[in-house]
Structure formats: C-alpha cells, structure tokens
C-alpha cells in the first residue's frame, strides 16, 4: 500500500508541473543592443536600424538549425533588396565546429560569433534555436522558439508584414 501511495504522490506532483507553460509572447520592446563579431568586421545591432532584421541564434550541434539555414538563405535572396537581412549569431564554444557547419551549409547572410554566449544571456534564450524579428524602428516584434519546417509560410508572412510597415 505504501508503494501505491508513493506512486500516486509522484503522479500528482507531475500532474501539477504539467500545467506550467513557457510564455514566449514578446511585447513590443526595443531590441537589446548587441556587439556583433561578424566574419570580417565588428558591428552593432543598432547599425541595422531601418531594416527588418531576422535575428537567429544557432549552433552547429542544433539539429533544427540545419533545416533553418536553407530557408534563411531563401529569405535573404527574396527580400534582401527590400531592406531585410538575416543576422545569425553562432553560440558554439569552438569556432572550428561552426566553420565545419558553414562549410557544409554556406550562409548568404551575415554571421556573428559569440562563443561566450553573452548575447544569449542578454536575450534570455529559452531554447535553441531562437529567432527574433526586429522591425525597422529597432523593436522586437516576434519570437520563434525552435525552427519548424511546417511554419515556414507563416514566418515568411511575418517578414512581409514588417517590410510593409
């Protein structure tokens, strides 16, 4: 009987925890400033104000990131001329792993390297990958948790919406 009670206790505690949800809603707020260590130069995130920015946090070990790169290349090609850019911040602790990933899946958009994870701390990332859409005024408007191939069309609509503002 003691066994059954203990088991019921575990199930009850678990049930209680099940109802916590991760709140990912982003109220419009200015995008926190970042120093970007790009491949060939250094820049600030605020330098991109006036453009719609798709800020993506990725790493070589993150499997959905492998599916997001071809799509991000496509978005860059389609909307780059209209004042849109992807900025992908790499969080690998070893630069070598990021370079190997980029050799297999080349990026046609700016890539920044943050091995210490400072930008991830600033943006309080809750998962990998995480991406934010920043409007022309420099405000965070949309947050995406993970990369889901079936949500690609919706992501593209969001970009078009912000470009039209």
């Amino acid at each position: 009987m003691g066994r059954i009670r203990a088991l019921a206790g575990i199930i009850g505690l678990s049930a209680g925890l099940l109802f916590t949800t991760a709140n990912l809603a982003v109220a419009a707020q200015p995008a926190p400033e970042l120093v970007l260590n790009l491949t060939s130069q250094q820049a600030n995130l605020s330098d991109y104000q006036g453009q719609v920015v798709y800020l993506d946090f990725w790493a070589s070990w993150c499997k959905p990131c492998q599916r997001s790169f071809p799509w991000m290349n496509e978005m860059q090609a389609k909307y780059g001329e209209q004042g849109f850019t992807v900025i992908a911040i790499n969080l690998d602790s070893e630069r070598k792993l990021a370079d190997e990933f980029l050799a297999r899946l080349p990026a046609h958009f700016p890539v920044a390297f943050d091995p210490d994870g400072n930008s991830a701390q600033t943006y309080k990332l809750k998962g990998m990958p995480t991406s934010y859409l920043i409007d022309k005024a420099g405000n965070l408007r949309v947050a995406h948790q993970g990369f889901h191939v079936e949500k690609q069309a919706r992501y593209e609509q969001e970009i078009k919406g912000l470009l039209a503002e």
Binding site: L17, A22, P70, G127, Q145, G146, H148
Partner: protein, 439 residues
C-alpha cells in the same frame, strides 16, 4: 521552392552498396538533412556445446517536417543447438523423449542433460509513431508482432513525455499490453506429470539413427493438451534530468504484471531418491501470475572525446527473484571518425521460490517446481569491445565482440548420494559477434 534535400530510399541504398564496395558514393548524401535513416545489424550468439543464434535487424526511421518520427523494425532470428532440459545429470546414461513424443535422445553418463530438438526461426515486426505537440509534449504509440513455430506475441504500447525547466527535465509515463500465445510441439504437458521415458534399443538401422521403444501402455500425448496464453501489462514512469553540461541522468520505475501460462513446456524436473538416483522425470510447473518491480538508474557523462554510460537496475518480484544489474559502456573517440567502446556488465539474481534443482522422492510434491537454471540463483558477467568507423559518405559501420558467462549457483540444496559427485551447476559460456551498418 524548398532547398532542403529530401533524399530518397533508393539513393541511400545505392550509397550503402557503393560504400561496401569501397568506392565513394557518387552523390555523398548529407546525413544531416536526410529524413530516412537506417540501422542494420547482424548478430551471432554461440554457447559452447549449446545454443547458437543468428539474428538480423533492419530498423528504418523517418523524421517528418513537424518533427514527428515514424519507425519500423524487422527482426529475423534462427536458433539451433541444445539447451539444458532441467533434469539432473546421473552417473549412467539417460534417455528422454522429445517434445513431439515420437522420438527420443540419449544423454551420456555424467553429462548435463541437453535437448537439441530446437531449430526455430522467429520473425518480428514492430512499428512506432512519435508525435510532438504543444511545444513540450511527445506522444508515442507502438505495435509489435513476433511469431515462431510454437509462439505468437502481439503487443501495443503508448508513451507520453513532457519537458520542463527549459527541457532540463523530462517526465515520462508509458503503458504496454502484450498477449502471448504458446502452442507447444506435442501439446502442453499437464503440470508435474511424468515424461514418458523411452527405452533405447540401439542404432542398428540403415541410417545409423538412435531407435527407441515405448511402453505398451504409452498413449502418445495422453498427458498433453492444447495451447496456452498469457497477458503482460507494463507500466513505466521515469524522470530524465540534465545535471550539468556534461551529465544526464535517468530514473525509471517499472511495474509488470503477467497473468497466464509462464511454465516452460519443454523443461523437466528429476525426482531422485535418497541415493540421488533418478526415479521419475516430470514436467515443470510455474505459477500463473507474476508481479515485478524494477528500479532503473542511468547516467551518461560526456568526456572531451567520448562518453561514459553506467546504469544500475534492481528488480524484485513475487516469485522471490531479486536481481541486480550493473551495465557500463566506455566510449573513447579516436579522432573524428573512429571510436572504441569497451563494455562491462555484471548480473546477479536470487532463485525463484519454486526453484528446485531436483525433487526428493520422499518429500511432498510442491505446488510449483522448476529446475530451469534461468530461474535459479546465478551470477553472470559480460566483457566486450566495440569498434566503430564513420566513412566519408556519412555512413557508419561497427563491429562488436563480447564474451558472456553465466554461473548458476547452488541456492542451498543438499546433494544426496551420487549427485554430490556430479557438476549440477555448469557454467554457460557464450561468444557474441555483431556487425552494424548505419546509413
């Protein structure tokens, strides 16, 4: 237009064929973006003087756009060789009838009686579907079917998983139902009734085969009926926890309730007199219900170049079998494309409450009795080594060689008369060889 590389089964198989021939695949498929993945293996298990098994596995999984996962697995194995039939050795030759009842076999003096009737092929198909939903939940449903000439097994299971605390913690709960039907060759023997002992009359016939004679009163299959069945209901609840950047732990509690026929219809128990001489050989019988509890704990630790994986399992049940299992694998990466992995396992179990290496003629007949060493007291250990290599085209192969030894022990039974001079608990020694291919 999607730029993702969907890949195709045909291309993957062609790649595998090219890799096996030693030439690089014409189109090196990027392993990363492939949706279908295949794992194949072939295993040989061989015990010294006893059972041998060859088993082949093909496992295919497909990851879909919504991250759901479909898995299908095919297993085929063939078993040959001899297993201990449960009777005790004697200082003279013994004859036994085969399960079919129409034939017999002779066991030499001093030898552990082994029945070499079993030549069996088994086919198993299983399939599962994992569906993620509501961001942190996963639900999995699985079916499996296994069939061999005297045994059919049908199973259904479900598993629910929930991630918490930024996916540092995962809770899981699963339920499984299995229905097994056994149709023994010759029929199911009546519990604890005598095996018909044939008389050996020589091997003078044209083929040089052993010939046997049966008692005039013998009516074939008179103490054997038809088929039997059992159901197994399993519940498993678990917690997986990330400890730190290098370490992961899992803790599972499992409850298993089995109801139905669990006796081995081919196993025997010898009834001996005060001098240890066999007077009768009867069919074993086990209880028709069994409730098992298991507590499983596993840790995986990431080294700079490798992984240490250690697990401990404690199991206890109402047959009074308690067991401890420690299983460990140490993976050492050699560069980016090779690894070696030593494997060490230690297992110890206590005897079932109804385990008897033999029965004493003068004692009252117990309700249940089995002399099968697999429900007796024993320790077992496995030592092995695996070597794996990843090829340029992303495919991987590995080889594994292991040695498995089981040491049955005397669970505290006196050995009267002649039995004291015989080895009643021989060790079983086996070699395991396996080849894997992943593409």
């Amino acid at each position: 237009m999607q730029l993702t590389n969907k890949g195709s089964v045909a291309t993957a198989l062609a790649g595998a064929a090219c890799a096996l021939l030693g030439t690089p695949a014409a189109q090196a498929e990027e392993d990363m973006l492939k949706d279908w993945k295949f794992d194949t293996a072939i295993l040989y298990y061989g015990e010294t003087d006893r059972v041998s098994l060859v088993e082949g596995v093909i496992n295919a999984s497909k990851t879909n756009d919504d991250d759901s996962l479909f898995n299908v697995k095919l297993v085929i194995d063939t078993l040959t060789g001899a297993s201990a039939n449960g009777a005790v050795a004697q200082p003279y030759a013994q004859t036994f009838s085969r399960p079919s009842g129409k034939d017999g076999y002779v066991v030499n003096a001093g030898d552990t009686p082994l029945d070499d009737t079993f030549r069996d092929t088994r086919v198993q198909v299983s399939s599962s579907w994992m569906q993620p939903f509501a961001d942190t939940w996963r639900a999995t449903g699985a079916v499996n079917v296994s069939t061999e000439y005297d045994y059919l097994s049908l199973g259904l299971s479900g598993l629910l998983e929930k991630d918490l605390f930024m996916r540092n913690t995962t809770l899981s709960a699963g339920l499984s139902f299995q229905f097994d039907s056994i149709d023994p060759v010759g029929g199911t023997p009546d519990a604890l009734t005598s095996m018909l002992t044939p008389t050996y009359i020589g091997d003078d016939n044209d083929e040089g085969e052993d010939e046997f004679e049966w008692d005039d009163d013998y009516e074939e299959g008179e103490n054997k009926t038809g088929s039997e069945s059992k159901t197994t209901t399993d519940l498993i609840v678990g917690v997986t926890q990330v400890i730190n950047r290098r370490m992961l732990m899992q803790f599972n509690y499992g409850l298993s309730v089995v109801d139905g026929y669990m006796t081995d219809p081919y196993k025997l128990v010898s009834v001996v007199d005060g001098a240890g001489m066999t007077q009768d050989v009867i069919y074993e019988d086990r209880p028709d219900s069994r409730t098992k509890h298991s507590f499983f704990w596993q840790t995986k630790y990431a080294l700079d170049s490798g992984v240490v994986d250690v697990s401990y399992r404690f199991a206890t049940d109402d047959w009074e079998i308690d067991s401890h299992t420690i299983d460990s694998r140490f993976r050492f990466n050699l560069g980016d494309n090779n690894y070696i992995q030593p494997h060490l396992r230690y297992y110890q179990q206590s005897a079932a409450e109804f385990y008897r290496p033999f029965l004493n003629q003068n004692d009252p007949m117990p309700m249940y009795a089995s002399a099968d060493y697999r429900v007796g007291e024993m320790t077992a250990y496995t030592v092995g080594l695996k070597y794996g290599h990843k090829m340029e085209n992303g495919h991987e192969w590995a080889v594994r060689a292991e040695y498995y030894q089981q040491d049955p022990k005397n669970a505290g039974f006196d050995e009267p008369g002649v039995l004291a001079d015989l080895d009643l608990y021989p060790s079983v020694k086996a070699v395991i060889l396996q080849f894997n291919y992943h593409f």
